[in-house]
Amino acid sequence: MANMIDINDVWKIYDVGGEKIEALKSVNLQIEIGSFISIVGHSGSGKTTLLSILGGLTKPSRGSVKIDGTEIWNLNDRQLSAMRNRKIGFIFQFSSLIPTLRAIDNVALPVIYANGHGKTSRKETYEYAAELLSTLGLGRKLQSFPSELSGGQQRRVSIARAFINRPTIIVADEPTGDLDAQSEGEVMEFFSRINEQDKTTFLLVTHNLALARMTDKVHSMKDGMLTHS
């Protein structure tokens, strides 16, 4: 099967006051279309750095990052932004909602950058946003502002947002970190369903080994290096 994600010899070196921090050291990772993989690793091992490189948010110091055959770090800003908008759904490790927008608007937000792509009407977008929020147990919180939601609820709103443009890849950085066991189960169930239905590729970073074992493949990260288990 073709690779959805193909990462080769990727390095990320931060320069902090003259000191070089090697956050990623020659990382290689191939992920097939429609697979659901997880990455585990200690804090500071480079998981978020890796996700943000393949999510088009940080430029690697060197190496190749291909998504669906496209070398993403060779794209211009407009193309890369379009890629982030349509192909990738990014779920951040920390709260990432826009405080001035209601939950439903936060979920629908990516659509304003889609420039009419996908041809969904505004009405359909909002219907889908409401559906996503309901699926994640927030059917009664559509009109709430982020400040009126609990940490776990905010997290679920940002999960819903990642799905609004029906991306082909979901990149999730500890998405269930602040959820209780039940919510976590619901979210994982939702992920699996989308994964099966739409052949969406999932890349999940988690500290929860039990959760990781439920995925197709577990990779572990240590000191900026990825090992496959």
């Binding site: 407009r78 001035t100 927008l101 439903i104 950058y113 947002r161």
Partner: protein, 403 residues
């Protein structure tokens, strides 16, 4: 359910109300000042042009000593009391290119108690040769202008049909002039020049009035209309050979008032531009703070697909919305203040020898649009650099910035 780049920008403005209002007011003050100043300038300028062109005389010949006061007379309505011999009219009429010549006689007693009524002055004119007074009548008259008739300028409170009493004479208001913007005309009471001579003579016999120092045949000014294509400088030069008279051209009056305009408003305008610059710098400083505060959000927007250009536009449009609202508020306040203080404003302009007519609505709309457009430019220019910085943030770094 109406999310868009615009609503995002608006919601951002709504988030920090105090800051938004303070900025709005700062912009409003500057745009309001610029709008009001330019409206007043425009008013003076257009009333000059309008007044003098409609005035209909290409040249004005006056006794030598009255040159300076004559200019101010035309504009603000203080007549001069110098006279010259009427015989000059024939000489002028014989110059090649002169179409018509008509005399005017300004009457007022030295201490102004006989015929100055409030702000009104008496001007004698010759209805047979006139080409500057009668065309200004508000309505067409069935009967001709007669010996005991007077015509009142637009600023007078008399109405058609009223009776005025001068030097033992009953005079009837025959008609009223439209507003000319020429101070002298707007304040005047026009009577037949013949009647004026008679009145001057009678002033010597009337008890309790100062006699008018005026001899039949003398005139205060001769209005000259030239033929189309006539060489005005040549005519002016020929008339000026007479050492006792001076020639005033319309252009020459406009120039002298324009100089006043420039001194008065020029400094205001310079100040306005300084203020505009200060406004732009202030916007720049504040938007740079805003971009810093919102780094994380901008990073998130980038992560969900906003391009650098969208981020740039978001910040710039936020500034432009703010400053255009400020500009509109300024224009509104400017109009309100000019309306409330219009008497004072016109009075003060007059004191500076400046005639004033409100510019036509189209011009006011145009000036308002320019003031608002200038405010938008201030917003765009001010937010340009902060917006550029905001758009250049690496998404991941921006997101981390807030943690």
């Amino acid at each position: 359910m109406n999310i868009s780049q615009t609503s995002l920008a608006l919601q951002n403005l709504a988030r920090r109300t105090f800051r938004t209002y303070a900025l709005l007011l700062a912009i409003a003050i500057v745009s309001g000042a610029i709008f009001s100043t330019s409206t007043l300038m425009w008013g003076v300028n257009s009333s000059l042009n309008k007044g003098l062109s409609k005035f209909g005389a290409d040249l004005l010949v006056v006794p030598k000593g009255s040159m300076i006061s004559m200019k101010s007379a035309l504009l603000t309505g203080e007549p001069s009391l110098f006279y010259m011999e009427g015989g000059i009219m024939e000489k002028i009429a014989s110059i090649k290119g002169v179409k018509s010549v008509s005399p005017q006689l300004f009457l007022t007693s030295v201490d102004g108690d006989c015929c100055v009524m409030g702000n009104a002055f008496i001007i004698g004119f010759n209805p047979k040769t006139d080409f500057t007074v009668l065309p200004w009548l508000e309505e067409k008259k069935e009967r001709p202008f007669q010996m005991d008739d007077v015509i009142v300028g637009a600023s007078n409170s008399y109405n058609v049909g009223d009776t005025l009493f001068f030097y033992g004479q009953n005079l009837t208001v025959y008609g009223k002039l439209g507003r000319t913007g020429v101070g002298l005309y707007d304040n005047a009471i026009f009577m037949n020049i013949e009647r004026a001579y008679v009145m001057a003579e009678q002033s010597h016999n009337t008890p309790n009035v100062k006699p008018l120092k005026l001899v039949r045949g003398q005139v205060s000014a001769v209005l000259v209309q030239t033929e189309v294509g006539a060489k005005i400088p040549f005519i002016s030069f020929t008339i000026s050979k007479d050492p006792d008279v001076k020639v005033i051209t319309a252009g020459n009056i406009i120039t002298s008032v324009r100089q006043n305009l420039v001194t008065l408003f020029g400094s205001t305008l310079v100040l306005s531009f300084v203020l505009i610059l200060a406004n732009a710098l202030m916007i720049s400083a504040i938007f740079s703070t805003i971009v810093n505060e919102r780094k994380r959000e901008l990073g998130i927007l980038r992560a969900i697909g906003a391009s650098k250009i969208s981020i740039f536009k978001l910040i710039v449009s936020e500034a432009a919305m703010l400053t255009s609202m400020g500009g509109a508020l300024g224009v509104f306040l400017g109009i309100v203040i000019m309306r409330v203080y219009q008497r004072t404003i016109i009075f003060n302009l007059k004191a500076l020898n400046m005639p004033y007519l409100w510019p036509p609505v189209e011009s006011i709309i145009m000036l308002a649009s320019i003031a608002i457009a200038a405010a938008v430019v201030v917003g765009v220019a001010g937010a340009f650099y902060p917006a550029l910085q905001g758009s250049r943030l690496q998404p991941y770094d921006a997101i981390r910035a807030g943690e």
